[in-house]
Symmetry: C2
Subunit: 153 residues, 2 copies
């Protein structure tokens, strides 16, 4: 059967391209800043953040992947690098022998603490300083709706 494509009208077109351009520019900028100032990509920063917030600064690999919005494979490679940098340690799970626990080292915590102020400043400058309080609220609602929709289906 012939399924008609629901093409985008010109308003939608414009919205989609604007979103594409803006989110790419924002992420590229923040990623580049983080790489330059802290020597780590944003994805690694986020792994460290999630670990730092976990009880005892430890998380099971799958939970960490979930929290950091990463695939298992990606996390596996990333933790290998972070471990080589001395920022994360791998430990065995006490009861599930398949499990691995990623644990943030003191050096990892220090690296995060050094990177955080500059990065947060970047987020503020490039995102929040540009938007009105109402827009910030709108962006939150839109984002939460999208995530719900994407992970729900």
């Amino acid at each position: 059967m012939a399924v008609m494509t629901r093409w985008l009208d010109s308003d939608e077109q414009r919205t989609w391209r604007a979103f594409l351009t803006a989110s790419r520019a924002l992420m590229d900028t923040l990623d580049r800043e983080l790489q330059r100032d802290a020597g780590m990509p944003h994805a690694y920063y986020e792994i460290l953040v999630r670990l730092s917030e976990a009880p005892d600064r430890r998380l099971r690999m799958s939970d960490l992947a979930e929290a950091a919005g990463s695939s298992r494979s990606r996390l596996s490679h990333a933790v290998a690098r972070l471990e080589a940098a001395g920022w994360v340690r791998r430990e065995e799970h006490p009861t599930d022998r398949r499990g691995q626990i990623a644990s943030l080292t003191d050096a990892g915590f220090a690296a995060l603490a050094a990177a955080a102020p500059g990065h947060v400043e970047g987020v503020r400058r490039h995102l929040f300083d540009a938007l009105s309080p109402a827009q910030v609220d709108q962006l939150r609602r839109i984002s939460e709706t999208l995530t719900e929709h994407l992970t729900g289906s």
Copy 2:
């Protein structure tokens, strides 16, 4: 001098993480769909789109990079691949002997035409179907503001 970090309050924190999660999930999903159904990453799709919209389906490399939101280096590598696939041809610039013109081949146009319906459907399903018309409008304004702010400074 000691510069105080302007940390994010909990509302901002929530907004930032929601945006991060949503935009990453959206892009990952669309990229994966495009790779699966059309055998090309989203960045390559966008190059083909911009070429297809240009007069005579030709653009100078720098203009194409600008239009596709890509670095020169990235575009150079990408066009090399697209040329190997037979989707794009490189031609010499008539007056500026440094210049290169990227030209969309018929095969490239056909590949784009085959990929477009599925991708557009994905954009509609994952983005527009989830948002109210008002939210679409908000997202456009927010995105345009952000882009202006990012490229202006």
